[in-house]
């Protein structure tokens, strides 16, 4: 039952004939889980909260950083180093105090995802990596939840709704993890904040249509939007006839090993865990761009951005041990491939998982 204050808050929305009080009640009864409170998640959350979705769950283990602020619109400078899920909810409570919020300040995993997803009606994938995307899809298939998908590459975006009313799933589009040559994220390829904003709102719109039972849900279609020329293209996607999930899904159980991007031979040989090595034995190369934070304030660290590697590689020692670092471990692996394949380096390794607070502390101790 909507309160007097809620009726006032949702007045303009309820004026729409297909919504009214009945539709607003449907929204209030609904529970939506947003995974990733980043470039996609922030706008999706902002509008789903305003629309009156009764319970919003937010999953994000990450902390706000300054480089997030240009696109992650729920955050400001005071939020830096705070958990994104918790900050997002603090902000959203000011926007709409009439709904329930649940923060999950954890890294989504095969072990915790089923428990988290079970209480929600719709799942929205606002993540930025394939490991999470395949995991989210598979949990949605396992628990029969609709999945609203959005992803971007530079000025292009893909949007779809998977697993809706027995429709196609993400694995019907992409069966398994892409090759390492096909991967990139916003941290390594760049993004103008407007595009994830647009895509996050498309995702929120699909959620609202599904809950209200109005319009045409973007199921069985992949929408691609190009923000440079405003071209929107739809591709029809059918449900795969292959048994995609027989080897993946047990009885309410997932195999954690299926959600780790398969290592190539070079990954397994050249990636290292910093905990297992003595950093003082390495020349440390930070392949991030110079403006990226946190700055690694150590005499041991040389900044050779990936974008300039082919010009600046001579700063990297040919002999002795060399350790490559970046935010996530993805760009440092790319740098390693370039150094090895183009310039014949055989003494380089990449830090798995990228720069963490623990790694920074360890660097300062050396």
């Amino acid at each position: 039952m909507l309160t007097k204050e809620e009726l006032q808050y949702y007045d303009r929305q309820m004026l729409l004939e297909p919504i009214g009080v009945v539709g607003q009640e449907k929204l209030k009864q609904s529970k939506v889980l947003i995974i990733g409170a980043g470039g996609l998640g922030c706008p999706a959350l902002r509008y789903l909260a305003s629309a009156g979705v009764g319970t919003l769950g937010v999953v994000d283990f990450d902390q706000v950083s300054v480089s997030n602020l240009h696109r992650q619109i729920l955050f400001d400078f005071d939020d830096v180093k705070k958990n994104k899920a918790e900050v997002a909810i603090t902000k959203l409570k000011k926007v709409n105090p009439f709904i329930e919020y649940v923060a999950y300040p954890v890294r989504l995993s095969a072990e915790n995802s089923i428990d988290i997803f079970e209480g929600f009606d719709v799942v929205v994938d606002c993540t930025d990596n394939y490991e999470s995307r395949f995991l989210i899809n598979d949990v949605c298939v396992l628990l029969n939840k609709p999945l609203v998908y959005g992803s971007i590459f530079k000025f292009e975006a893909q949007i779809s709704v998977f697993n809706w009313q027995n429709g196609p799933t993400y694995r019907c589009l992409f069966k398994d993890f892409p090759s390492s040559e096909s991967t990139a994220d916003c941290n390594s390829s760049g993004v103008v904040g407007v595009l994830p904003g647009i895509v996050g709102l498309y995702q929120a719109n699909e959620v609202i249509k599904m809950i209200l039972g109005i319009g045409e849900v973007l199921s069985g279609k992949l929408m691609i939007f190009n923000s440079l020329n405003n071209k929107v293209t739809y591709f029809n996607l059918s449900k795969s006839q292959e048994n995609l999930y027989d080897d993946l899904l047990g009885e309410k159980k997932l195999n954690p090993e299926k959600y780790i991007r398969p290592c190539t031979l070079s990954d397994s040989i050249y990636e290292v865990d910093y905990e297992l090595i003595d950093l003082s034995n390495f020349q440390i190369i930070d392949v991030r761009e110079p403006f990226e934070l946190p700055v690694l304030e150590s005499d041991m660290v040389v900044n050779v951005p990936l974008s300039e590697l082919t010009e600046l590689y001579s700063q990297i020692n040919r002999h002795g041990n060399v350790l490559l670092l970046c935010k996530s471990g993805a760009r440092s692996m790319k740098a390693l491939d370039i150094l090895r394949d183009q310039f014949g380096y055989s003494n380089v390794k990449s830090v798995r998982g990228g720069i963490t607070d623990e790694l920074i502390s360890k660097l300062l101790e050396v």
Partner: protein
């Protein structure tokens, strides 16, 4: 008659083109577009992509689809 091929995302970036055209030799009724594209652009052998013909996601093209647009669609992960 040729088919226009449109490249999206990272594939367009890696190839340095967003579209081209190909002349398909229909020795058999159904031609596998993936093989055809990878023969023309060996760089794509290491990449993951889906194929759409006339906006329908599928791998094979028939002679009746000459003139239709072929789209090469890599996955995106950014968010």
């Amino acid at each position: 008659m040729e088919n226009e091929v449109q490249f999206y995302g990272m594939i367009a970036e890696k190839l340095g083109i967003s579209k081209t055209s190909i002349l398909i030799d229909f020795k058999v009724e159904d031609v596998n577009v993936r093989d055809l594209i990878m023969d023309s652009y060996p760089l794509l052998k290491a990449m993951t992509f889906q194929i759409a013909i006339n906006n329908v996601i599928k791998e094979n093209i028939s002679s009746a689809e000459v003139g239709e647009i072929i789209a090469i669609l890599p996955p995106f992960a950014g968010g």
